[in-house]
Amino acid sequence: MMTIFEALADPTRRHIVDLLRERPRLVGELTAQLDISQPGISKHLRVLREAGLVNVRQDAQRRWYELRAEPFSELQTWLDGFRHLAAAKYDRLDRVLNELTDEEPNDE
């Protein structure tokens, strides 16, 4: 099975995810928005479903495609370590800049 990263490496699938971020949608809407044939959209939706990014909700004759929240919070976690390092680094830069302010009278 494809990982969420592989599934989202494709620009069309990222576009689908962007559209689903706004609200759940029917295949027909996605086909119209993206100007891709219905079989093409269905193929991309299957990949997104298999990667666990998208759910289908059956409502009478309609099939609504919607995003699942869990994988996106996983992506958040994936970035957290990097964010933590960058935050710590720039907090230190803050202190360096404060010291520069304090030193200023001596510089002149």
Binding site: L79, D80, G81, F82, R92
Partner: protein, 157 residues
């Protein structure tokens, strides 16, 4: 609040970081090009950084060495391509031994009311290299968290 934003969209080759500093931009710029200042903040806090070279002019080299407590060395290096004080800095970035090729980092500084907003965009040669950079941060970030936890536990003992 000096809020930090980090953007690394899946499937893209970029990492974008934005942050605001309570200082005029010539100082923020200087903190990126003066070796004595860079040594005080660059890289993970858990390691000592030695600024081996920092020649901030187009074509000038930079090379920083991190040493962890257990003696492991990490060599970060690159070349400056644009040094336009105080608004823009463009340089390549590579971690020796990681492979995959260098990233191109564009740092822009904008001043507003005595504060400076920076945008640091790093563009890597492939999604794989970009992900590896984020991933190394994940491991480093976790390591730092554990260090802090250990410190905390020591104070509790």
């Amino acid at each position: 609040m000096n809020k930090l934003n980090v953007y690394a969209e899946p499937g893209k080759q970029e990492i974008v970081i934005t942050r605001e500093f309570n200082a005029p931009r010539d100082r923020v710029f200087r903190a990126h090009t003066d070796p004595a200042l860079v040594a005080k903040w660059w890289g993970p806090a858990s390691m000592h950084v030695a600024i081996e070279s920092l020649d901030a002019r187009p074509g000038g080299l930079w090379r920083y060495i991190h040493r962890s407590d257990d003696g492991a060395e990490y060599i970060h290096f690159g070349v400056f391509h644009e040094v336009s004080a105080p608004e823009r800095l463009i340089y390549t970035y590579e971690l020796a031994g990681m492979g995959g090729g260098p990233g191109i980092v564009t740092l822009t500084l904008e001043e507003r009311d005595g504060k400076t907003a920076i945008t640091e965009t790093s563009l890597y040669p492939s999604v794989e290299v970009r992900d590896a950079v984020v991933q190394s941060g994940m491991e480093g970030g976790a390591a730092e968290s554990y260090d802090r936890m250990e410190e905390l536990l020591n104070t509790l003992a």
